[in-house]
Chain length 418, copies 2
């Protein structure tokens, strides 16, 4: 063993989740999962390690070439830590297409990796709810997916004033590109520019360098006139019918991935303190083709934990930390150790969450410990309690005390907790 000190920091751009942080992760993930299940989406999962080949088809080239964590395993296979979940779900659906029942509704909350310069809302690893519906070619799928995203935001405590859902249609762009005879890699690069339009200062210069001044002017002009389509109007109207009213048609919404084929959407925070895109998705009808499978219409979105947490912080919607531990038993002397262990086991049989403080420190220090970890109740166990079978339960938030026999502790706690 080397005597050199190893640093205690995590790897750059990823996070350690201490219990207080993990509590917020759980709150966000449980809310996401509950809403997805409410719409009949079933949970799936897969490994973070995928064959690199999976990302060489349809996806964002910048991500694949510059931002993936890729390496060669000990057996010479090229592998990648998934940068997004969509290729994985497409692979899994293609693999069992004949056995699965459509419409197929699946969700997952995987972690994904991108090698980026860490900055606000962007880390090298984040978790991301993925919700996807397969097998519905019509607008019902977009309505459902956007309603589901809307309900997650509402379930996290947001009002319709706190966020806006911007919708556009990739086909609108494609029509403009066709009119201007733009195609192939040119189109891919324009899409990349458009997706970053609000983030870069020299959008017009970059566009001119790419396709020449004349076409650039025509394109910007065409984009500014492209205001809506009948499909988008129908979408807005159907969503309004089910009380999803904060929808904005916004043809500047593009989304980064190449695979979208129709409606795309992005959810924006309306607060000036966090005015940014939170997450988004859209329709991708052709992705299964890369596995040689028949076309399957698909709509989905991905919602990251980092932006979700930023949103909750900005709008003061973070939940208050509550530990799992409800009761701390303080052990007052060595002779009470076994008794406390047995009492704790009995209480667990009655579904009480109980931690025993075996430090044998002074009672005051042990009660401080119970306060520090955020437990609701504390009981000290010593000679007196062992002999009398009478235990004083202190409620640490109200400072109320009650003395009861062991057999009444669980009942007392449950009724005090409501």
């Amino acid at each position: 063993m080397s005597k050199q000190k190893i640093p205690t920091e995590s790897y750059k751009g990823v996070r350690d989740f201490y219990p207080e942080d993990q509590f917020i992760q759980r709150y966000i993930f449980e809310t996401m999962a509950r809403v997805a299940e409410m719409y009949g989406y079933e949970e799936y999962n897969a490994s973070i390690v995928e064959s690199s080949e999976l990302y060489k088809g349809k996806t964002n080239e910048e991500i694949v070439n510059e931002q993936t964590y890729s390496f060669t395993d000990r057996g010479g296979r090229d592998v990648t830590l998934r940068p997004e979940m969509t290729p994985t779900i497409a692979r899994m659906v293609a693999a069992k297409k004949r056995e699965l029942a459509f419409p197929l509704r699946w969700y997952s909350i995987p972690n994904v990796f991108r090698y980026e310069r860490p900055q606000k809302g962007r880390l090298r690893e984040h978790w991301q709810l993925n919700v996807d519906i397969f097998g519905i070619p019509g607008i019902e799928a977009e309505v459902e997916i956007i309603a589901l995203a809307h309900r997650i935001m509402r379930s996290l405590g947001a009002t319709e004033n706190d966020f806006e859902i911007h919708v556009s249609d990739r086909r609108l762009l494609e029509k403009i590109f066709t009119t201007l005879s733009l195609k192939g890699t040119e189109v891919k690069e324009i899409m990349g520019l458009l997706d970053r339009r609000v983030k870069i200062d020299d959008f017009e210069e970059k566009l001119e360098t790419l396709i020449g001044k004349e076409k650039a002017i025509s394109l910007i002009d065409a984009l500014s006139r492209a205001s809506s389509t009948a499909y988008l109007e129908d979408l807005v109207e159907r969503l309004s019918n089910i009380n999803v009213k904060n929808i904005v048609i916004d043809t500047s919404v593009v989304r980064g991935f190449d695979y979208y084929t129709g409606i795309v959407f992005e959810v924006f925070d309306t607060s000036p303190d966090n005015a940014r895109s939170l997450f988004g998705g859209g329709r991708y009808d052709n992705l299964l083709e890369m596995f040689g499978a028949e076309q399957v219409p698909a709509v989905g979105f991905g919602m990251g934990d980092v932006t979700a947490r930023d949103f909750l912080e900005t709008h003061d919607l973070l939940p208050e930390y509550t530990p799992a531990t409800e009761l701390v038993l303080c052990v007052l002397d060595e002779d009470a150790v076994r008794h406390a262990t047995t009492l704790a086991e009995t209480l667990r049989d009655e579904d009480v969450t109980v931690a025993v403080n075996y430090s044998l420190k002074r009672a005051g220090d042990q009660i401080k410990f119970a306060n520090k970890i955020g437990a609701e109740f504390v009981i000290c166990v010593g000679k007196k309690e062992m002999e009398s079978d009478q235990y004083t339960i202190k409620n640490l938030s109200s400072s109320e005390e009650h003395t009861v026999p062991a057999s009444r502790i669980a009942d007392h706690m449950f009724s005090a907790l409501g």
Copy 2:
């Protein structure tokens, strides 16, 4: 986009979790988490990517040199996909040692990676409950950790006849090594051999090659005579007091990691069909030293999902699959689409989990779909239902039918589900 087909298989040695598999994962993880929390353990988490340096201190050399997934990131940093969680929790505790309250009880259910030849019970990626208690030097910690492991097994449906907990003490081995003047790397290699003793045929030959015939004979003799210690007897007696009775003192238990300093234990399946070690752990009091932090006594264990699932299968304890989706709405014609969407949203407001089948296929096909995904109830929505506000709910397991207005659907379902 290339027209070459991309394979749909997952990377070798890892798993895709389709909803039926994910359901079992969830059942196992939720049981583990519930029991860990019952003992006051709080959840933490960290990234799968760690600096490679973290594993160059105290851990199993075979794993670090031959079995890690290690690579260099785009910024030239050496990183590793964690092969186990203990170095990570030690790092996190060392980083905030002064702010944390001891005794500290934490758990996590991370995935971990090892480059191994995939075989029964051994994959390249598995998930592993990690439960650790820091700050208790005495036997109470071992008693609690083993009782917790025992309660997880019981909560998964196992009886005490289905498994056995074998306990030993590293100090017993160390005493024998000292008597025989064995030390340093010799000891490490002997430990490795002992840990694999039941799996390899030529244990004695290998041992002779390593330390010579004479010492090998003395060691095997000393091991066979080393039957127990007062500490082990005390442990067994205290566990028996709280009804943990399937404990066996077994000095052949070693555990693979170098960092253990006291009690070690392994849980064995007693079924002849799956007679193997399921999981284990022990005391490791010196691990925080590698971060330059003061010594903190620690006891913990890791319990993997693959062996847990094998155990449940062997003992016929796997839960029956139940989907999230409780109700399927079948849409009988195009005119009923919007009505079904609105009805579904209303039911979700009342906490019903509902999937809408928008395929517009024949009613019979849509009911087949509801059966195939395992939903409990189905309602068909067409012109008649829209006009009358009377909906026939069919319970798919009992075939019972009830006709109620929209406002009574949720109540009817909840009372039918109990």
